[in-house]
């Protein structure tokens, strides 16, 4: 593995401060499992210094050369929200420019073959690895019904709806300002929908703020529903070297508690692996 140069093929805004970027790696990268992430450079110089962790959103085709009949080359996509300096610099990149990235990194979502229905819960930009999952399942020909509960601050943040529709999933939006879908939190919808689903074996996949994931972990653990979560921690290396990104693992019987590196053992964990009370 090594840092690989990638060419920006598109970078456009989908919603206020949310950008979708296509990157064509100049050398082949391993195929990503949904839930994995890349460490992306946002500058060429020494400042800002560190790479930014960004999830795999999906694959796309680079525009094909005019002369050729072949399909365009396989490119990857990321979707990001402008937060600070690094993502702001990313948002200013134009097609043809280069950046470099390392990845795909970490552990992605597990398949959950025994579930007959899949329930995806996203909080804000936490949609990225979940759209990645839905896309991967459909590409693999998985026809199980998918329900996506997506909570956001306001309706305009619930973006890329056509993309989601194309994945044949049921979208249940929730907004804190009530401008779109359920007025309130994504987690408000969890218990009612689980009631609705009844006895059909279901599995839950979630990515969002800690408090949301903690709540989902509680509900699914009570109901003994398999639940995977994708966690977010500040990262310096993304490679397991610096120990910046740890969360506390749930202590097993008679064993001392251990830290888990979100970049290496995660970012996707089984909810029961995490000690949700340490933060």
């Amino acid at each position: 593995m090594k840092p690989v140069q990638a060419q920006v093929i598109h970078n456009y805004t989908l919603a206020p401060r949310i950008f979708r970027m296509g990157l064509l790696p100049l050398e082949p990268l391993p195929h990503a499992v949904a839930g994995q992430f890349y460490m992306v450079r946002v500058s060429r110089g020494l400042d800002p210094l560190l790479r930014r962790p960004l999830s795999h959103f999906g694959y796309c085709r680079a525009p094909k050369p005019k002369s050729s009949r072949a399909k365009g080359e396989a490119a990857l996509e990321i979707l990001y929200q402008v937060k600070g300096r690094g993502t702001d610099l990313l948002s200013r990149m134009t097609p043809g420019e280069h950046t470099d990235l390392i990845g795909p990194l970490g552990q992605g979502w597990q398949p959950e073959p025994s579930a007959e229905r899949l329930l995806l819960l996203a909080g804000g930009i936490g949609i990225v690895p979940l759209r990645g999952l839905a896309d991967q399942l459909r590409v693999q020909g998985d026809k199980r019904p998918l329900t996506l509960i997506w909570g956001a601050g306001t309706g305009s943040e619930i973006c890329c709806r056509e993309d989601l529709e194309a994945l044949d999933l049921e979208l249940l939006p929730a907004t804190e300002d009530g401008s779109f879908g359920h007025p309130g939190l994504a987690t408000d919808l969890l218990e009612p929908i689980l009631e609705d689903i009844g006895k059909t074996p279901v599995a839950v996949f979630a990515c969002g703020p800690w408090a949301m994931l903690k709540k989902i972990a509680e509900v699914t653990s009570q109901k003994k529903i398999p639940c995977q979560v994708s966690l977010d921690e500040f990262m310096a290396c993304g490679l397991g070297a610096c120990l910046s990104c740890v969360v506390r693992g749930r202590a097993r019987d008679h064993e001392p508690p251990q830290n888990l590196r979100v970049c290496k053992e995660g970012p996707v964990f089984r909810a029961e692996e995490i000690d949700w009370n340490v933060r």
Partner: protein, 307 residues
């Protein structure tokens, strides 16, 4: 005629290195983390994550904050502890063929001594690096490394039981680093590594809160290079034992500047987070620079600064 392949070998007080570039403590795990990027044996040496008597989970998160051209960390010396290190981490590291230097620290002089004795008798360990930037629990938590007498006394104690070359890694958070360097040299340190991270802080203005859960942390990366370079220069002027330079080294040019300033070897830390192959690129860059300048032995350029 200069040879096509310059000789990069250095010997740091009995630790033989095939080139002067080591991976710095706390930035390369136990040698397992960059295996996909290069073979550890390509390094001159690998300095392990700091080892303590008992396992440590470190500080709460956030324990990393990016700062201009650098980063703060308050990892809090998380490590697997002596037992797991010896049983699980050290054997594969030694098998990889890299020269292993084990970084260690304690809360008391007794702990340092016990660790030094045990680690230096483990097979495969080429040398030890004592991190003395740790709070002395018995002296109210003041770092061992901040007062020359205290640092000297600690090193004397370690040296008495340490069966391998002892590098002592200094804290930069002092007024006169040369005085600390002289004290640890007198106490028997075989080499001096400098510098550890500089104490710093970052604030989230909107929240009016410190970014790090621990409030303060250690600054590393390119931002600290000029300070590290100055300190390495001052130490090299003050002592006769070899100096290992560390702090903000990102390129071969940075590394060569430290060597010219008096470092016999260097360590690469934060740069590996951004570019995991940085140490290898630095080794190659040193080789190229020597060829371009018709130099045969890296040893011949140590401390050749013209002031």
């Amino acid at each position: 005629m200069p040879s096509l392949s310059p000789n990069l070998e250095v010997n740091i007080a009995g630790v033989a290195m095939k080139n002067p570039v080591a991976a710095a403590s706390g930035t390369c795990g136990y040698g397992d983390v960059y295996a996909e990027f290069y073979h550890p044996a390509e390094l001159g040496a690998l300095v392990t994550k700091g080892i303590s008597l008992e396992p440590r989970l470190g500080n709460p998160t956030p324990r990393m904050a990016e700062t201009p051209a650098g980063m703060l960390n308050s990892i809090g010396l998380e490590n697997v502890g002596l037992k797991v290190f010896l049983n699980e981490k050290l054997p594969p590291l030694c098998d990889s063929g890299v020269t292993v230097v084990v970084n260690f620290f304690g809360n008391t002089e007794d702990e340092y001594a016990w660790l030094a004795e045990t680690l230096s008798s483990a097979t495969g360990v080429a040398g030890l690096e004592a991190n003395i930037s740790c709070p002395n629990v018995k002296a109210g938590g003041i770092e061992f490394g901040t007062r020359p007498e205290v640092a000297g006394k600690l090193v004397e104690r370690i040296k008495a039981v340490c069966g391998k070359p002892l590098w002592v890694k200094l804290s930069p958070n002092v007024t006169d680093i040369a005085a600390v360097a002289k004290a640890v040299e007198q106490a028997g340190a075989d080499a001096i590594s400098a510098i550890n991270t500089l104490k710093g802080m970052a604030i989230d203005l909107d929240e009016r809160k410190p970014v790090l859960a621990n409030v303060t942390g250690g600054l590393s990366g390119p931002a600290i290079k000029p300070v590290a370079l100055r300190m390495v220069y001052e130490i090299a002027q003050a002592v006769k034992v070899p100096v290992v330079g560390v702090g903000g080294i990102t390129t071969a040019k940075d590394a060569l500047e430290f060597i010219v300033a008096g470092a016999s070897a260097i360590q690469v830390g934060t740069a590996s987070f951004v570019n995991p192959r940085a140490p290898i690129q630095i080794i190659n860059g040193i080789k190229n620079w020597m060829r371009e300048n018709s130099l045969e032995r890296v040893q011949d350029i140590i401390g050749t600064l013209k002031v």
